[in-house]
Symmetry: C2
Subunit: 394 residues, 2 copies
């Protein structure tokens, strides 16, 4: 039986690795940063820019948000998320679990699944491994995530252990339902002509365990036992200390199956990305490039800058003199600050554009450095420069 995705590591430098992840819809060079399109759009950045200037090959969609709005019925009628949104490259969809636990109130968690109130209208809703797999089949994403429970970052050993057990049982149920849906043609994104691939969706498992290394190891073993097309690290960057995240990454990532893509969910800053690559992680997503863009905070090679700063009012320089994006090539700090102060949405559009470009371009440079065996040099230089603007951290 042919596989839904193909992953090949093409070069290593220490634990860091670069490779190619091929889905039915695009060829993705790793390590990769995946821009987040929560509701089917990357906030403020038109697909045209993501495709042409940035050459993003995969973006995220959020099951929780799309389930509530526009809802499964409309997505089904419109032929799935690719046709609905017109993004024809790859989508990764999360399972909805994380949003249920972070965005909603009045949750009732049972072995079956989780009942919750919609953050939009308070309506009662239900998600379970089976429901999540159904929604993700309707969405038709290239990478489907299992439905897991994500405990708080500071969860104690017992709570984490119990949560992990639930996640392990839900992983089995997710896989079982996922396979059924692939077989019965429910995947709206099926592609008959996926060269050498099955044309189906792929399914990634999620490793939990909070900051408890032995639970992380147990979760890893049980997830690998179930068997998935890729493996994700969940439950990091959810409120724990940064040192805990780095400790978990350092311990866990190198133990994850070497021949499968490793995905660190919801992380993070440019520094986090570099450090996780250093532990052997291949895939990332995070809302911060666009979220910060909307509040006037720009990521640059010299650290973050806040466009509201009065010193930029008559500055003819660009956000980042080392950046080649269409915003840095054209627009001055003075102009961007004016747009932001004047409440023009163009400010959010342009700064979000630069930020997403910066994240994608940083990963391109990471890949190049790994290919030539210079990742450690790159890492040191990159992190040193990031700190140049540190006093101004936003």
């Amino acid at each position: 039986m042919t596989k839904p995705i193909d992953f090949k590591v093409t070069a290593r430098d220490g634990e860091a690795r670069t490779g190619t992840l091929t889905t039915r819809r695009s060829i993705i060079e790793t390590p990769v940063f995946m821009p987040v399109g929560t509701q089917g759009t990357v906030k403020g950045v038109r697909f045209e820019w993501l495709e042409s200037e940035m050459d993003a090959r995969i973006i995220l969609g959020n099951t929780y948000h799309l389930f509530l709005r526009p809802g499964v019925e409309i997505l089904l009628k419109m032929g799935g998320l690719h046709k609905f949104s017109s993004w024809e490259r790859s989508f990764l969809t999360d399972s909805g679990g994380f949003q249920v636990f972070s965005l909603t109130k009045l949750r009732k968690l049972t072995e079956d699944g989780v009942e919750f109130q919609s953050h939009l209208d308070g309506s009662k809703q239900f998600l379970s491994p089976e429901v999540s797999m159904e929604i993700q089949a309707t969405l038709g994403s290239e990478i489907v995530m299992v439905f897991d429970e994500c405990p708080p970052g500071d969860a104690g050993y017992e709570a984490t252990k119990n949560s992990l057990e639930m996640t392990a049982r839900w992983a089995l149920r997710s896989k079982e339902k996922f396979n059924k849906l692939q077989n019965d043609g429910s995947d709206s994104g099926f592609l008959d002509s996926a060269d050498g691939l099955s044309g189906n969706q792929s399914l990634f498992g999620i490793i939990q365990g909070a900051g408890h290394l032995e639970l992380r190891e147990e979760s890893l073993e049980r997830t690998v036992d179930v068997g998935f097309d890729g493996y994700a690290i969940g439950g990091l960057s959810v409120g724990e200390e940064k040192s805990v995240m780095y400790e978990v990454l350092d311990f866990l990532a190198p133990k994850m199956p070497a021949e499968s893509p490793r995905y660190l969910m919801g992380v993070g800053t440019p520094e986090d990305l570099i450090e996780a690559v250093n532990c052997g992680v291949d895939m990332f997503d995070c809302v911060i490039p666009t979220r910060n863009g909307r509040t006037g905070s720009a990521f640059t090679s010299r650290g973050k800058i806040n466009i509201r700063n009065a010193k930029f009012a008559d500055d003819e320089g660009s956000l980042d003199s080392d950046c080649g994006c269409s915003v840095c090539k054209r627009y001055s700090l003075g102009y961007l600050r004016h747009l932001y102060q004047a409440g023009e949405m163009t400010a959010a559009i342009l700064i979000s554009h630069h930020n997403v470009y910066f994240f994608l371009d940083t990963m391109r440079r990471v890949r190049e450095s790994i290919k030539v065996g210079a990742f450690q040099t790159f890492r040191k230089d990159f992190l040193d420069r990031l700190r140049e603007n540190a006093p101004e951290a936003v």
Copy 2:
């Protein structure tokens, strides 16, 4: 002495005319719709799209807004509005007068000028013919507007007459100050290499008189007596009945100097544009393409549609099946409605884009029809089709 702009009418069809307006920075085919960039950006539409896909050759900047923020000092330091904003094609700047009378409170109008409170911070500010010319020289726009007083649309004869007298005296002062500024090198947009042109700014006079035809005629004569590079019709679409606007246009436009560009300020809907072209108007500006775009209202060849309408939820069609813009070629009504309902700024970005494109494309079609002597047929067909969606008017 060479001229700052060149205007040539190349074809006529009844009173309607098409031609070429050449400024030091661009060649503008007329009739032309000028997108409004109030604060130095066209809301939600990046310059890149305006230049490439839409090929806009001239946009507006608002003196009132730019005077208050970022202010003259910063604009001067940044080298004027072109350098500041990076828009290198033509700018037309208004005089600030209209905004003072429509946006501010506590105005004190004297022969000298008008004292007002900033709508931003309540600070006391002052604008006069001289101050307005100074600001517009700092901005460095290709087309400068005289500082006028604009009475309400329903102003009586006496009030209008008095206002008109003031406007006539201010027109003289505007011209005098303008000439001084051109001579002393205050124009930040001066272009030494403006092929065959002086490289200076041009100055347009404004005809007032509300709905009183004899006052309109008097204002026209007095404005032409002063002598300007172009003539604008002010004080329409300011609250009067639509029939009044059409009556004034019908009476006034054909009497305006035939060899100079005729500019109808702040107007209007696609229907208004066609009717004004029919009276011989060459230039237009209006905020409605972007203002409506932000509220989900799209202009189409079949009239306006409101993207919030539930019937579009699963509609795979585009905003306008006859439109060739990048939004209509790619995005479905269902997707656009979802983005709007979900509060995504991408909705405003995409609908504003389509609307501006629609206005520019309509003017392109107007020009083509005049060239081949088919304007009346075009006009009838265009207006008939516009009414197809009329029951749904927004």
